[in-house]
Amino acid sequence: MVAPLVDATKGGVRGHLAGKPRSRMAKFGHRLLVGLPLFMLAVWTFIPFLVTLSVSIKTKVETFANLGLVPQQPTINAYKEVFTDPSFLNAFVNSAIVGFGTAILTIVIGLPAAYAFARFKFRGRHLLLLFTLLPRLVPSIGILVPIYRLAVATNMLDKRITLIIVYAGTLVPLAVWLMVGFFQQIPREIEEAADVDGANLWDRLRYIVMPLAAPALITIAVLAFREAWNEFTLVLVLTTNPTTRTLPFALFKMGQSEGITNFPAEAAFAIITVLPFILVYTRLERYVVSGLTAGSSK
Protein backbone atom coordinates (compact mmCIF):
# COMPACT_ATOMS: atom_id res chain seq x y z
CA MET A 1 0.00 0.00 0.00
CA VAL A 2 1.24 3.45 -0.88
CA ALA A 3 -1.41 5.24 1.06
CA PRO A 4 0.44 8.45 1.98
CA LEU A 5 1.45 9.10 -1.62
CA VAL A 6 -2.09 8.54 -2.81
CA ASP A 7 -3.47 10.84 -0.18
CA ALA A 8 -1.10 13.55 -1.25
CA THR A 9 -2.16 13.37 -4.90
CA LYS A 10 -5.83 12.84 -4.13
CA GLY A 11 -6.41 16.30 -2.80
CA GLY A 12 -4.51 17.77 -5.72
CA VAL A 13 -6.44 15.98 -8.48
CA ARG A 14 -9.81 16.44 -6.85
CA GLY A 15 -9.00 20.03 -6.06
CA HIS A 16 -7.98 20.69 -9.62
CA LEU A 17 -11.17 19.25 -11.02
CA ALA A 18 -13.33 20.94 -8.45
CA GLY A 19 -11.72 24.19 -9.47
CA LYS A 20 -13.24 23.88 -12.94
CA PRO A 21 -16.25 26.12 -13.24
CA ARG A 22 -19.39 24.08 -12.85
CA SER A 23 -22.88 25.11 -13.69
CA ARG A 24 -25.43 25.35 -10.93
CA MET A 25 -27.42 22.64 -12.68
CA ALA A 26 -24.49 20.23 -12.61
CA LYS A 27 -23.92 20.92 -8.94
CA PHE A 28 -27.56 20.23 -8.20
CA GLY A 29 -27.37 17.05 -10.26
CA HIS A 30 -24.33 15.96 -8.31
CA ARG A 31 -26.06 16.64 -5.00
CA LEU A 32 -29.06 14.65 -6.17
CA LEU A 33 -26.87 11.76 -7.28
CA VAL A 34 -25.38 11.46 -3.80
CA GLY A 35 -28.38 12.60 -1.82
CA LEU A 36 -31.12 10.57 -3.43
CA PRO A 37 -29.69 7.09 -2.68
CA LEU A 38 -28.98 8.21 0.87
CA PHE A 39 -32.53 9.42 1.25
CA MET A 40 -33.78 6.11 -0.17
CA LEU A 41 -31.60 4.26 2.32
CA ALA A 42 -33.07 6.26 5.20
CA VAL A 43 -36.62 5.57 3.98
CA TRP A 44 -35.84 1.89 3.45
CA THR A 45 -34.31 1.47 6.90
CA PHE A 46 -36.57 3.59 9.05
CA ILE A 47 -40.04 3.53 7.50
CA PRO A 48 -40.91 0.06 8.84
CA PHE A 49 -39.88 1.19 12.35
CA LEU A 50 -41.77 4.48 12.05
CA VAL A 51 -44.93 2.83 10.75
CA THR A 52 -44.87 0.37 13.63
CA LEU A 53 -44.20 3.08 16.17
CA SER A 54 -47.04 5.15 14.71
CA VAL A 55 -49.53 2.29 14.83
CA SER A 56 -48.49 1.43 18.38
CA ILE A 57 -49.57 4.86 19.67
CA LYS A 58 -52.85 5.00 17.75
CA THR A 59 -56.17 3.77 19.07
CA LYS A 60 -57.67 0.69 17.47
CA VAL A 61 -60.21 2.81 15.63
CA GLU A 62 -57.67 5.30 14.41
CA THR A 63 -55.45 2.62 12.83
CA PHE A 64 -58.19 2.16 10.22
CA ALA A 65 -59.48 5.75 10.09
CA ASN A 66 -56.16 7.60 9.86
CA LEU A 67 -53.57 6.01 7.60
CA GLY A 68 -51.05 8.83 8.11
CA LEU A 69 -47.89 8.44 10.15
CA VAL A 70 -48.80 11.06 12.74
CA PRO A 71 -51.58 9.97 15.11
CA GLN A 72 -54.25 12.50 15.99
CA GLN A 73 -54.82 11.20 19.49
CA PRO A 74 -51.62 9.56 20.63
CA THR A 75 -52.18 7.05 23.39
CA ILE A 76 -50.03 4.61 25.28
CA ASN A 77 -52.90 2.23 25.91
CA ALA A 78 -51.39 -0.42 23.67
CA TYR A 79 -48.21 -0.39 25.74
CA LYS A 80 -50.19 -0.67 28.95
CA GLU A 81 -52.05 -3.59 27.43
CA VAL A 82 -48.81 -5.36 26.52
CA PHE A 83 -47.14 -4.71 29.86
CA THR A 84 -50.06 -6.18 31.77
CA ASP A 85 -50.23 -9.22 29.50
CA PRO A 86 -48.82 -12.19 31.46
CA SER A 87 -47.61 -13.93 28.31
CA PHE A 88 -45.50 -10.88 27.47
CA LEU A 89 -44.03 -10.61 30.94
CA ASN A 90 -43.23 -14.29 30.99
CA ALA A 91 -41.58 -14.14 27.59
CA PHE A 92 -39.64 -11.02 28.53
CA VAL A 93 -38.19 -12.67 31.61
CA ASN A 94 -37.41 -15.82 29.63
CA SER A 95 -35.71 -13.84 26.90
CA ALA A 96 -33.60 -11.97 29.43
CA ILE A 97 -32.57 -15.18 31.21
CA VAL A 98 -31.82 -17.03 27.99
CA GLY A 99 -30.02 -13.98 26.56
CA PHE A 100 -27.68 -13.48 29.50
CA GLY A 101 -27.27 -17.22 29.97
CA THR A 102 -26.26 -17.69 26.34
CA ALA A 103 -23.81 -14.78 26.47
CA ILE A 104 -22.14 -16.14 29.61
CA LEU A 105 -22.06 -19.77 28.53
CA THR A 106 -20.66 -18.88 25.09
CA ILE A 107 -17.77 -17.01 26.68
CA VAL A 108 -17.17 -19.62 29.37
CA ILE A 109 -16.92 -22.34 26.72
CA GLY A 110 -15.22 -20.31 24.02
CA LEU A 111 -12.59 -18.38 25.96
CA PRO A 112 -10.43 -21.25 27.24
CA ALA A 113 -10.55 -22.96 23.86
CA ALA A 114 -9.58 -19.80 22.00
CA TYR A 115 -6.77 -19.19 24.48
CA ALA A 116 -5.49 -22.72 24.02
CA PHE A 117 -5.57 -22.43 20.23
CA ALA A 118 -3.89 -19.02 20.28
CA ARG A 119 -1.22 -19.66 22.90
CA PHE A 120 -0.44 -23.34 23.35
CA LYS A 121 1.34 -25.60 20.94
CA PHE A 122 -0.16 -29.03 21.13
CA ARG A 123 -0.57 -32.04 18.94
CA GLY A 124 -3.56 -31.80 16.62
CA ARG A 125 -4.35 -28.19 17.39
CA HIS A 126 -4.86 -27.23 13.73
CA LEU A 127 -7.23 -30.12 13.20
CA LEU A 128 -9.10 -29.39 16.43
CA LEU A 129 -9.39 -25.70 15.56
CA LEU A 130 -10.78 -26.59 12.15
CA PHE A 131 -13.18 -28.98 13.83
CA THR A 132 -14.36 -26.16 16.10
CA LEU A 133 -14.77 -23.56 13.35
CA LEU A 134 -16.09 -25.60 10.42
CA PRO A 135 -19.55 -26.36 11.90
CA ARG A 136 -20.19 -22.60 11.69
CA LEU A 137 -21.26 -23.35 8.12
CA VAL A 138 -24.11 -25.58 9.24
CA PRO A 139 -27.40 -23.78 8.63
CA SER A 140 -29.97 -23.99 11.40
CA ILE A 141 -32.41 -25.67 9.02
CA GLY A 142 -30.06 -28.69 9.07
CA ILE A 143 -30.24 -29.13 12.85
CA LEU A 144 -33.87 -28.16 13.46
CA VAL A 145 -35.40 -31.64 13.31
CA PRO A 146 -32.43 -33.58 14.78
CA ILE A 147 -32.14 -31.17 17.75
CA TYR A 148 -35.86 -31.45 18.35
CA ARG A 149 -35.72 -35.24 18.35
CA LEU A 150 -32.66 -35.26 20.60
CA ALA A 151 -34.45 -32.90 23.01
CA VAL A 152 -37.48 -35.20 23.03
CA ALA A 153 -35.33 -38.27 23.59
CA THR A 154 -33.40 -36.70 26.49
CA ASN A 155 -36.48 -35.07 28.02
CA MET A 156 -35.06 -31.59 27.51
CA LEU A 157 -38.07 -30.01 25.83
CA ASP A 158 -39.58 -26.88 27.42
CA LYS A 159 -36.51 -25.94 29.42
CA ARG A 160 -34.73 -22.63 29.32
CA ILE A 161 -31.41 -24.37 29.90
CA THR A 162 -31.92 -26.30 26.65
CA LEU A 163 -32.27 -23.06 24.74
CA ILE A 164 -29.15 -21.66 26.41
CA ILE A 165 -27.09 -24.74 25.58
CA VAL A 166 -28.30 -24.92 21.98
CA TYR A 167 -27.72 -21.23 21.29
CA ALA A 168 -24.30 -21.28 22.96
CA GLY A 169 -23.38 -24.33 20.88
CA THR A 170 -24.27 -22.58 17.64
CA LEU A 171 -22.31 -19.48 18.68
CA VAL A 172 -19.11 -21.13 19.90
CA PRO A 173 -17.46 -21.31 16.44
CA LEU A 174 -17.90 -17.57 15.89
CA ALA A 175 -16.73 -16.80 19.43
CA VAL A 176 -13.60 -18.94 19.13
CA TRP A 177 -12.80 -17.46 15.72
CA LEU A 178 -13.04 -13.89 17.00
CA MET A 179 -11.14 -14.57 20.21
CA VAL A 180 -8.28 -16.53 18.62
CA GLY A 181 -7.62 -13.54 16.37
CA PHE A 182 -7.74 -11.23 19.32
CA PHE A 183 -5.57 -13.30 21.66
CA GLN A 184 -2.87 -13.66 19.02
CA GLN A 185 -2.55 -9.89 19.00
CA ILE A 186 -1.85 -9.73 22.72
CA PRO A 187 1.95 -9.68 22.95
CA ARG A 188 3.31 -12.91 24.33
CA GLU A 189 5.95 -10.91 26.21
CA ILE A 190 3.39 -9.45 28.62
CA GLU A 191 2.37 -12.91 29.71
CA GLU A 192 5.96 -14.08 29.87
CA ALA A 193 6.79 -11.18 32.15
CA ALA A 194 3.87 -12.03 34.38
CA ASP A 195 4.98 -15.66 34.36
CA VAL A 196 8.44 -14.62 35.57
CA ASP A 197 6.81 -12.57 38.29
CA GLY A 198 5.08 -15.70 39.49
CA ALA A 199 1.60 -15.27 38.05
CA ASN A 200 -0.07 -18.57 37.38
CA LEU A 201 -2.28 -19.41 34.40
CA TRP A 202 -5.45 -18.24 36.12
CA ASP A 203 -3.88 -14.92 37.19
CA ARG A 204 -2.67 -14.28 33.66
CA LEU A 205 -6.09 -14.99 32.20
CA ARG A 206 -7.86 -12.92 34.82
CA TYR A 207 -5.55 -9.89 34.98
CA ILE A 208 -3.91 -9.77 31.55
CA VAL A 209 -5.77 -11.64 28.84
CA MET A 210 -9.36 -10.84 29.74
CA PRO A 211 -8.92 -7.09 30.29
CA LEU A 212 -6.95 -6.75 27.05
CA ALA A 213 -9.51 -8.79 25.15
CA ALA A 214 -12.45 -6.83 26.55
CA PRO A 215 -13.63 -5.56 23.13
CA ALA A 216 -13.74 -9.14 21.83
CA LEU A 217 -15.58 -10.35 24.93
CA ILE A 218 -18.13 -7.53 24.68
CA THR A 219 -18.61 -8.24 20.99
CA ILE A 220 -19.25 -11.90 21.64
CA ALA A 221 -21.60 -11.17 24.52
CA VAL A 222 -23.60 -8.74 22.36
CA LEU A 223 -23.78 -11.14 19.41
CA ALA A 224 -24.75 -14.03 21.68
CA PHE A 225 -27.40 -11.98 23.40
CA ARG A 226 -28.75 -10.81 20.04
CA GLU A 227 -29.02 -14.39 18.80
CA ALA A 228 -30.84 -15.58 21.93
CA TRP A 229 -33.09 -12.54 22.01
CA ASN A 230 -34.10 -12.78 18.35
CA GLU A 231 -33.88 -16.44 17.41
CA PHE A 232 -37.22 -17.82 16.34
CA THR A 233 -37.28 -21.22 14.64
CA LEU A 234 -35.38 -23.21 17.29
CA VAL A 235 -37.42 -21.77 20.16
CA LEU A 236 -40.58 -22.52 18.20
CA VAL A 237 -39.56 -26.15 18.00
CA LEU A 238 -37.97 -26.58 21.44
CA THR A 239 -40.73 -25.06 23.56
CA THR A 240 -44.39 -25.97 23.64
CA ASN A 241 -45.84 -24.05 26.56
CA PRO A 242 -46.05 -20.34 27.40
CA THR A 243 -43.85 -20.57 30.50
CA THR A 244 -40.63 -21.16 28.54
CA ARG A 245 -41.31 -19.14 25.40
CA THR A 246 -39.08 -16.22 24.47
CA LEU A 247 -40.29 -12.92 22.99
CA PRO A 248 -40.20 -13.80 19.26
CA PHE A 249 -42.36 -16.86 19.90
CA ALA A 250 -44.81 -14.88 22.06
CA LEU A 251 -45.05 -12.19 19.38
CA PHE A 252 -45.60 -14.85 16.73
CA LYS A 253 -48.36 -16.42 18.82
CA MET A 254 -50.02 -13.03 19.13
CA GLY A 255 -50.19 -12.72 15.34
CA GLN A 256 -51.62 -16.23 15.05
CA SER A 257 -54.54 -15.56 17.38
CA GLU A 258 -58.05 -15.75 16.00
CA GLY A 259 -60.30 -12.80 15.26
CA ILE A 260 -59.48 -9.25 14.26
CA THR A 261 -55.83 -8.50 14.91
CA ASN A 262 -55.20 -5.96 17.64
CA PHE A 263 -52.76 -3.95 15.52
CA PRO A 264 -51.71 -1.35 18.12
CA ALA A 265 -50.92 -4.02 20.70
CA GLU A 266 -49.00 -6.11 18.18
CA ALA A 267 -47.04 -3.06 17.08
CA ALA A 268 -46.34 -2.06 20.68
CA PHE A 269 -45.14 -5.60 21.43
CA ALA A 270 -42.80 -5.48 18.44
CA ILE A 271 -41.43 -2.07 19.46
CA ILE A 272 -40.83 -3.24 23.03
CA THR A 273 -38.92 -6.34 21.88
CA VAL A 274 -36.83 -4.28 19.49
CA LEU A 275 -36.08 -1.17 21.51
CA PRO A 276 -34.03 -2.44 24.49
CA PHE A 277 -31.58 -4.21 22.28
CA ILE A 278 -31.15 -1.29 19.91
CA LEU A 279 -30.50 0.99 22.90
CA VAL A 280 -27.94 -1.40 24.36
CA TYR A 281 -26.35 -1.87 20.97
CA THR A 282 -25.91 1.83 20.25
CA ARG A 283 -24.01 2.14 23.53
CA LEU A 284 -21.72 -0.80 22.74
CA GLU A 285 -21.45 -0.28 18.98
CA ARG A 286 -17.86 1.03 19.13
CA TYR A 287 -16.64 -2.10 20.90
CA VAL A 288 -18.53 -4.43 18.59
CA VAL A 289 -17.11 -2.84 15.46
CA SER A 290 -13.55 -2.86 16.83
CA GLY A 291 -14.00 -6.42 18.12
CA LEU A 292 -15.27 -7.67 14.78
CA THR A 293 -12.62 -5.95 12.68
CA ALA A 294 -9.72 -6.84 14.97
CA GLY A 295 -10.79 -10.48 15.22
CA SER A 296 -11.53 -10.98 11.55
CA SER A 297 -8.42 -9.27 10.23
CA LYS A 298 -6.38 -12.31 11.17
Partner: protein
Protein backbone atom coordinates in the same frame (compact mmCIF):
# COMPACT_ATOMS: atom_id res chain seq x y z
CA UNK B 1 0.78 -10.83 7.68
CA UNK B 2 0.92 -10.95 11.44
CA UNK B 3 0.44 -14.70 11.39
CA UNK B 4 3.68 -15.24 9.52
CA UNK B 5 5.49 -12.85 11.82
CA UNK B 6 4.17 -14.79 14.75
CA UNK B 7 5.38 -18.06 13.26
CA UNK B 8 8.77 -16.60 12.54
CA UNK B 9 9.07 -15.31 16.07
CA UNK B 10 8.14 -18.66 17.46
CA UNK B 11 10.72 -20.39 15.31
CA UNK B 12 13.44 -18.05 16.49
CA UNK B 13 12.75 -18.74 20.13
CA UNK B 14 14.97 -21.30 21.81
CA UNK B 15 13.41 -24.66 22.57
CA UNK B 16 13.73 -24.47 26.35
CA UNK B 17 12.12 -21.08 26.42
CA UNK B 18 9.25 -22.42 24.42
CA UNK B 19 8.48 -25.00 27.01
CA UNK B 20 8.73 -22.51 29.85
CA UNK B 21 7.78 -18.99 28.95
CA UNK B 22 6.14 -19.03 25.55
CA UNK B 23 4.55 -22.40 25.87
CA UNK B 24 3.69 -21.49 29.45
CA UNK B 25 3.63 -25.19 30.13
CA UNK B 26 0.91 -26.14 32.53
CA UNK B 27 1.21 -29.81 31.83
CA UNK B 28 0.41 -31.56 28.61
CA UNK B 29 -3.26 -31.95 29.30
CA UNK B 30 -4.03 -28.23 29.76
CA UNK B 31 -4.62 -27.31 26.10
CA UNK B 32 -6.86 -30.32 25.66
CA UNK B 33 -8.77 -29.55 28.84
CA UNK B 34 -9.16 -25.96 27.70
CA UNK B 35 -10.45 -26.78 24.24
CA UNK B 36 -12.57 -29.76 25.22
CA UNK B 37 -15.76 -27.89 26.25
CA UNK B 38 -15.86 -25.97 22.98
CA UNK B 39 -15.22 -29.04 20.86
CA UNK B 40 -17.81 -30.98 22.80
CA UNK B 41 -20.43 -28.22 22.51
CA UNK B 42 -19.89 -27.78 18.79
CA UNK B 43 -20.01 -31.52 18.20
CA UNK B 44 -23.13 -32.02 20.28
CA UNK B 45 -25.10 -29.05 18.94
CA UNK B 46 -23.91 -28.76 15.34
CA UNK B 47 -21.78 -31.57 13.96
CA UNK B 48 -23.55 -34.57 15.43
CA UNK B 49 -27.14 -33.42 14.74
CA UNK B 50 -26.39 -32.74 11.08
CA UNK B 51 -24.76 -36.12 10.55
CA UNK B 52 -27.44 -37.83 12.62
CA UNK B 53 -30.10 -36.09 10.53
CA UNK B 54 -28.56 -37.26 7.28
CA UNK B 55 -28.34 -40.79 8.65
CA UNK B 56 -31.93 -40.70 9.90
CA UNK B 57 -33.15 -39.60 6.46
CA UNK B 58 -32.49 -43.19 5.42
CA UNK B 59 -35.04 -44.50 7.93
CA UNK B 60 -38.81 -44.33 8.06
CA UNK B 61 -41.57 -45.35 10.43
CA UNK B 62 -44.21 -47.37 8.55
CA UNK B 63 -46.83 -45.55 10.60
CA UNK B 64 -46.76 -42.77 13.17
CA UNK B 65 -45.58 -44.20 16.49
CA UNK B 66 -44.13 -47.41 15.10
CA UNK B 67 -40.36 -47.97 15.29
CA UNK B 68 -38.34 -46.70 12.34
CA UNK B 69 -36.91 -49.07 9.78
CA UNK B 70 -34.04 -48.70 7.39
CA UNK B 71 -35.46 -47.89 3.96
CA UNK B 72 -32.38 -46.69 2.06
CA UNK B 73 -33.15 -44.01 -0.49
CA UNK B 74 -36.92 -44.42 -0.30
CA UNK B 75 -37.48 -41.02 1.36
CA UNK B 76 -35.49 -39.42 -1.41
CA UNK B 77 -37.24 -41.20 -4.28
CA UNK B 78 -40.61 -40.33 -2.72
CA UNK B 79 -39.45 -36.76 -2.35
CA UNK B 80 -38.44 -36.50 -6.01
CA UNK B 81 -41.75 -37.94 -7.20
CA UNK B 82 -43.76 -35.51 -5.07
CA UNK B 83 -45.12 -32.55 -7.09
CA UNK B 84 -45.15 -30.45 -3.89
CA UNK B 85 -41.39 -30.80 -3.70
CA UNK B 86 -40.90 -29.53 -7.25
CA UNK B 87 -43.20 -26.56 -6.77
CA UNK B 88 -41.37 -25.74 -3.52
CA UNK B 89 -38.06 -25.98 -5.42
CA UNK B 90 -39.42 -23.66 -8.11
CA UNK B 91 -40.61 -21.13 -5.52
CA UNK B 92 -37.26 -21.38 -3.73
CA UNK B 93 -35.59 -20.50 -7.04
CA UNK B 94 -37.75 -17.40 -7.36
CA UNK B 95 -37.20 -16.50 -3.72
CA UNK B 96 -33.41 -16.93 -3.72
CA UNK B 97 -33.03 -15.35 -7.17
CA UNK B 98 -35.25 -12.42 -6.27
CA UNK B 99 -33.42 -11.82 -3.00
CA UNK B 100 -30.04 -11.99 -4.75
CA UNK B 101 -31.06 -9.50 -7.45
CA UNK B 102 -32.87 -7.06 -5.15
CA UNK B 103 -30.39 -7.46 -2.29
CA UNK B 104 -27.27 -7.03 -4.39
CA UNK B 105 -28.52 -4.05 -6.39
CA UNK B 106 -29.86 -2.25 -3.33
CA UNK B 107 -26.72 -3.21 -1.41
CA UNK B 108 -24.52 -1.67 -4.11
CA UNK B 109 -26.62 1.49 -4.31
CA UNK B 110 -26.72 1.96 -0.54
CA UNK B 111 -23.05 1.19 0.04
CA UNK B 112 -22.07 3.71 -2.67
CA UNK B 113 -24.31 6.25 -0.98
CA UNK B 114 -22.80 5.54 2.45
CA UNK B 115 -19.28 5.65 1.06
CA UNK B 116 -19.91 9.16 -0.22
CA UNK B 117 -21.59 10.25 3.00
CA UNK B 118 -19.10 12.06 5.18
CA UNK B 119 -19.18 14.27 8.21
CA UNK B 120 -22.63 14.80 9.59
CA UNK B 121 -24.11 11.79 7.84
CA UNK B 122 -21.65 9.27 9.27
CA UNK B 123 -24.19 8.10 11.86
CA UNK B 124 -26.18 6.62 8.97
CA UNK B 125 -23.60 3.84 8.69
CA UNK B 126 -24.34 2.64 12.21
CA UNK B 127 -28.08 3.19 11.77
CA UNK B 128 -28.20 0.95 8.68
CA UNK B 129 -27.47 -1.98 10.98
CA UNK B 130 -30.84 -1.61 12.75
CA UNK B 131 -32.69 -4.29 10.72
CA UNK B 132 -29.92 -6.75 11.65
CA UNK B 133 -30.68 -6.26 15.32
CA UNK B 134 -34.32 -7.29 15.31
CA UNK B 135 -35.96 -10.68 15.14
CA UNK B 136 -37.55 -12.10 12.01
CA UNK B 137 -40.88 -12.07 13.80
CA UNK B 138 -40.66 -8.35 14.62
CA UNK B 139 -39.70 -7.67 10.99
CA UNK B 140 -42.68 -9.72 9.86
CA UNK B 141 -45.03 -7.71 12.11
CA UNK B 142 -43.64 -4.47 10.69
CA UNK B 143 -44.01 -5.54 7.07
CA UNK B 144 -47.49 -6.94 7.67
CA UNK B 145 -48.46 -3.45 8.86
CA UNK B 146 -46.67 -1.78 5.96
CA UNK B 147 -48.30 -3.98 3.32
CA UNK B 148 -51.70 -4.32 4.98
CA UNK B 149 -54.42 -3.72 2.39
CA UNK B 150 -56.67 -1.73 4.75
CA UNK B 151 -54.28 0.34 6.82
CA UNK B 152 -50.87 -0.10 5.18
CA UNK B 153 -48.70 2.81 4.17
CA UNK B 154 -47.74 1.23 0.83
CA UNK B 155 -51.28 1.09 -0.48
CA UNK B 156 -52.17 4.52 0.87
CA UNK B 157 -49.13 5.97 -0.94
CA UNK B 158 -50.08 4.07 -4.10
CA UNK B 159 -53.62 5.40 -3.67
CA UNK B 160 -52.46 9.01 -3.77
CA UNK B 161 -50.99 8.45 -7.22
CA UNK B 162 -54.15 6.71 -8.35
CA UNK B 163 -52.99 3.10 -8.17
CA UNK B 164 -55.28 0.66 -6.43
CA UNK B 165 -52.77 -1.47 -4.56
CA UNK B 166 -53.34 -5.22 -4.36
CA UNK B 167 -54.09 -7.13 -1.17
CA UNK B 168 -50.41 -8.00 -1.01
CA UNK B 169 -50.26 -10.77 1.57
CA UNK B 170 -53.48 -12.54 0.62
CA UNK B 171 -52.68 -12.56 -3.09
CA UNK B 172 -50.96 -15.62 -4.51
CA UNK B 173 -49.15 -13.46 -7.07
CA UNK B 174 -47.93 -10.69 -4.75
CA UNK B 175 -47.23 -12.44 -1.43
CA UNK B 176 -43.86 -13.74 -2.65
CA UNK B 177 -42.68 -10.22 -3.49
CA UNK B 178 -43.46 -9.06 0.05
CA UNK B 179 -41.56 -12.05 1.45
CA UNK B 180 -38.56 -11.24 -0.77
CA UNK B 181 -38.74 -7.60 0.29
CA UNK B 182 -38.81 -8.47 3.99
CA UNK B 183 -36.03 -11.04 3.71
CA UNK B 184 -33.82 -8.53 1.87
CA UNK B 185 -34.61 -5.91 4.50
CA UNK B 186 -33.40 -8.18 7.31
CA UNK B 187 -30.33 -9.39 5.40
CA UNK B 188 -29.10 -6.23 3.70
CA UNK B 189 -27.15 -4.72 6.63
CA UNK B 190 -24.47 -7.37 6.34
CA UNK B 191 -24.34 -6.98 2.54
CA UNK B 192 -23.87 -3.23 2.95
CA UNK B 193 -21.21 -3.78 5.61
CA UNK B 194 -19.30 -6.16 3.30
CA UNK B 195 -19.54 -3.94 0.22
CA UNK B 196 -18.74 -0.76 2.17
CA UNK B 197 -15.69 -2.50 3.63
CA UNK B 198 -14.63 -3.40 0.09
CA UNK B 199 -15.16 0.14 -1.18
CA UNK B 200 -13.00 1.55 1.59
CA UNK B 201 -10.05 -0.65 0.63
CA UNK B 202 -10.10 0.47 -3.02
CA UNK B 203 -7.02 2.51 -3.85
CA UNK B 204 -8.36 5.95 -4.73
CA UNK B 205 -5.48 6.62 -7.12
CA UNK B 206 -7.24 4.44 -9.74
CA UNK B 207 -10.35 6.54 -9.48
CA UNK B 208 -8.36 9.75 -9.60
CA UNK B 209 -6.55 8.57 -12.71
CA UNK B 210 -9.90 7.80 -14.34
CA UNK B 211 -11.19 11.17 -13.25
CA UNK B 212 -8.23 12.88 -14.91
CA UNK B 213 -8.88 10.88 -18.08
CA UNK B 214 -12.40 12.22 -18.09
CA UNK B 215 -14.36 9.08 -17.17
CA UNK B 216 -17.94 9.76 -16.14
CA UNK B 217 -19.34 8.67 -12.80
CA UNK B 218 -21.15 5.78 -14.43
CA UNK B 219 -18.02 4.67 -16.34
CA UNK B 220 -15.96 4.81 -13.15
CA UNK B 221 -18.52 2.69 -11.32
CA UNK B 222 -18.97 0.23 -14.19
CA UNK B 223 -15.33 -0.29 -15.23
CA UNK B 224 -13.44 0.40 -12.02
CA UNK B 225 -15.35 0.23 -8.78
CA UNK B 226 -17.57 -2.78 -9.48
CA UNK B 227 -14.71 -4.94 -10.89
CA UNK B 228 -12.55 -3.95 -7.92
CA UNK B 229 -15.43 -4.87 -5.61
CA UNK B 230 -15.78 -8.32 -7.20
CA UNK B 231 -14.36 -10.29 -4.24
CA UNK B 232 -16.82 -8.68 -1.84
CA UNK B 233 -19.64 -9.19 -4.33
CA UNK B 234 -18.80 -12.90 -4.47
CA UNK B 235 -18.79 -13.18 -0.66
CA UNK B 236 -22.05 -11.28 -0.33
CA UNK B 237 -23.66 -13.45 -3.03
CA UNK B 238 -22.56 -16.62 -1.27
CA UNK B 239 -23.83 -15.31 2.04
CA UNK B 240 -27.16 -13.99 0.73
CA UNK B 241 -27.80 -17.22 -1.12
CA UNK B 242 -26.99 -19.25 1.99
CA UNK B 243 -29.18 -17.08 4.18
CA UNK B 244 -32.20 -17.14 1.84
CA UNK B 245 -31.97 -20.78 0.76
CA UNK B 246 -31.80 -22.05 4.33
CA UNK B 247 -33.81 -19.24 5.92
CA UNK B 248 -37.09 -20.17 7.50
CA UNK B 249 -37.86 -17.43 10.03
CA UNK B 250 -39.11 -14.68 7.72
CA UNK B 251 -41.36 -16.89 5.60
CA UNK B 252 -42.76 -18.69 8.62
CA UNK B 253 -43.47 -15.51 10.57
CA UNK B 254 -44.77 -13.48 7.64
CA UNK B 255 -46.99 -15.85 5.65
CA UNK B 256 -46.46 -19.32 7.07
CA UNK B 257 -46.05 -20.45 3.45
CA UNK B 258 -49.47 -19.18 2.34
CA UNK B 259 -51.71 -18.05 0.77
CA UNK B 260 -52.45 -21.48 -0.72
CA UNK B 261 -48.81 -22.45 -0.50
CA UNK B 262 -47.70 -19.64 -2.79
CA UNK B 263 -44.74 -18.75 -0.56
CA UNK B 264 -43.85 -22.27 0.54
CA UNK B 265 -40.12 -22.45 -0.06
CA UNK B 266 -38.20 -25.65 0.53
CA UNK B 267 -37.27 -24.69 4.08
CA UNK B 268 -40.96 -24.02 4.76
CA UNK B 269 -41.91 -27.31 3.10
CA UNK B 270 -39.45 -29.09 5.36
CA UNK B 271 -41.01 -27.44 8.42
CA UNK B 272 -44.51 -28.44 7.28
CA UNK B 273 -43.54 -32.04 6.64
CA UNK B 274 -41.78 -32.29 9.99
CA UNK B 275 -43.96 -30.37 12.42
CA UNK B 276 -47.39 -30.34 10.76
CA UNK B 277 -47.43 -33.77 9.10
CA UNK B 278 -45.03 -35.20 11.73
CA UNK B 279 -43.09 -37.10 9.06
CA UNK B 280 -39.68 -36.42 10.55
CA UNK B 281 -37.61 -38.74 8.41
CA UNK B 282 -39.13 -37.44 5.19
CA UNK B 283 -38.42 -33.91 6.41
CA UNK B 284 -34.81 -34.88 7.04
CA UNK B 285 -34.51 -35.93 3.40
CA UNK B 286 -35.63 -32.43 2.36
CA UNK B 287 -33.20 -30.86 4.87
CA UNK B 288 -30.36 -32.96 3.48
CA UNK B 289 -31.32 -31.89 -0.03
CA UNK B 290 -31.19 -28.23 1.06
CA UNK B 291 -27.73 -28.74 2.60
CA UNK B 292 -26.42 -30.36 -0.59
CA UNK B 293 -27.98 -27.71 -2.82
CA UNK B 294 -26.44 -25.01 -0.62
CA UNK B 295 -22.99 -26.60 -0.92
CA UNK B 296 -23.35 -26.98 -4.71
CA UNK B 297 -24.48 -23.36 -5.13
CA UNK B 298 -21.56 -22.09 -3.07
CA UNK B 299 -19.14 -24.15 -5.18
CA UNK B 300 -20.85 -22.78 -8.27
CA UNK B 301 -20.41 -19.15 -7.25
CA UNK B 302 -16.76 -19.72 -6.42
CA UNK B 303 -16.26 -21.51 -9.76
CA UNK B 304 -17.79 -18.66 -11.72
CA UNK B 305 -15.69 -16.20 -9.74
CA UNK B 306 -12.54 -18.22 -10.52
CA UNK B 307 -13.31 -18.10 -14.21
CA UNK B 308 -13.13 -14.33 -13.97
CA UNK B 309 -9.98 -14.70 -11.85
CA UNK B 310 -11.55 -13.32 -8.70
CA UNK B 311 -10.10 -14.61 -5.47
CA UNK B 312 -12.72 -14.21 -2.80
Amino acid sequence: MTATQEQKKRREQPKARERNGAQIGQGRATPYLFSFPAIFAVSAILAFPVLYGIWQSLYRAPELGLPEEFVGGLNYSDMFSDPDFWSALYRTGIFVGGCLIVGTSLGLLFSFALYRSIGRLRWMRAATLAPYLISNVAAAVMFRLLFNSDLGLINSVLGTVGIDGPAWLSSTTWAMSVVIFTQVWTDIPLTILLLLGGLMTIDTSYLDAALVDGASAWQRARYLTIPLLAPQLVISTVWLSYSTLTGLGVVLALTGGGPIGSTTTMAMEMYNVAFRALKFNEALAIATFILILNALLTLGYVRVARRYEIEA
